[in-house]
């Protein structure tokens, strides 16, 4: 069940993790992209934090919508419209039913895929969202699921996003967006304890 409070708390934990790993995210991105994913995400979550503090939210859907707008407007990279779409569609689903968390995350994934057209296996954030949501739906989500999903992006060849320009050369590295997405789910799990 999402509430205004646990949603805010979750997103703030997410923000902390991104902030703490900003340099790591950019390093990953500099190998198979343009090296800005950490900066992009840090800019986005800063705006998100400000929005969470300053904007009224009468339900968790509002919280998610405010986060969406901040991430969309401020990230500045491909991950901006992707996280923006994810949170927008999570917000819509939360409006319908704030109790079904799996369905909310599932809506987020479908927002990402609607926007970015990536299927699992293309070495994007989808490769974390997809297995994590499956595990969540069957009640088996652990930090291992998340870590494994991130690791599994290494051998993949990128066929979406900037890394796809590298072709075979993208093999052997973690996908930066997969890593930042893992923070979102880890932050969620920590609230479930």
């Amino acid at each position: 069940m999402l509430t205004v409070e646990n949603t805010k708390a979750w997103l703030l934990r997410f923000a902390e993790k991104v902030e703490a790993n900003k340099a790591h995210l950019s390093d990953l991105d500099s190998v198979i992209g343009d090296g800005d994913h950490g900066n992009n995400m840090a800019r986005g979550i800063k705006a998100m934090q400000e929005a969470l503090e300053s904007k009224e939210a009468s339900d968790p859907a509002d919280v998610l919508k405010n986060a969406s707008m901040a991430l969309l407007s401020k990230i500045g990279g491909a991950s901006g419209p992707l996280y923006g779409s994810a949170f927008l569609d999570m917000s819509k689903q939360a409006k319908e039913d704030a109790s079904d968390v799996s369905a909310i995350f599932r809506a987020g994934l479908s927002g990402i895929q609607k926007r970015g057209k990536a299927e699992p296996g293309e070495k994007t954030m989808v490769d974390v969202w997809h297995p994590v949501i499956k595990a969540l739906e069957s009640g088996e989500l652990t930090t291992d699921t998340i870590t494994d999903a991130v690791e599994a992006t290494k051998p993949l060849k990128a066929t979406k996003g900037r890394a796809s320009y590298l072709g075979e050369r993208s093999i052997g590295e973690l996908d930066p967006g997969a890593v930042s997405s893992s923070y979102l789910f880890e932050a969620w799990l920590e609230g479930e304890d």
């Binding site: 343009d34 800005d36 969309l72 990230i75 991950s79 779409s85 900037r162």
Partner: protein, 123 residues
């Protein structure tokens, strides 16, 4: 003024401005607006700047062009939030936008522009 306008979305402020200049020289009677880079002037795309480029364009029917994938996705979001009719083309950025601007400036109609853009689809 042509009834159809052009919006450019690039990752880099200079790139957007440069394409704008190239197009304007040949198509002074087409409304062309652009967004380039993030709000801080970094390389990336800005939802707000793209939205502004769409709104400031004098036309209600807009053909839009982008350089790389993330400028496309941000443009798509902006399109969803806009009341105008904005079409996004997966064509070569500079050459596609130049073709559209030349044709519109020469008085070509919509169908003709679309036809000429087809061979430039590369994304």
């Amino acid at each position: 003024m042509s009834e159809i306008g052009i919006v450019l979305s690039s990752h880099v402020s200079e790139l957007a401005e440069g394409v704008y200049k190239l197009l304007s020289e040949t198509a002074p009677k087409v409304s062309i607006t652009y967004a380039g880079g993030t709000d801080d002037g970094d390389i990336g795309s800005s939802f707000d700047a793209i939205t502004q480029a769409i709104e400031e364009n004098e036309a209600d029917h807009i053909l839009s062009f982008y350089d790389l994938g993330s400028a496309k996705m941000t443009m798509e979001m902006a399109i969803e939030y806009s009341d105008k009719t904005v079409e996004l083309f997966d064509v070569s950025f500079v050459e596609g936008a130049y073709t559209a601007a030349s044709l519109l400036s020469g008085g070509a109609d919509y169908d003709r522009v679309i036809e000429q853009l087809k061979p430039l689809i590369i994304k």
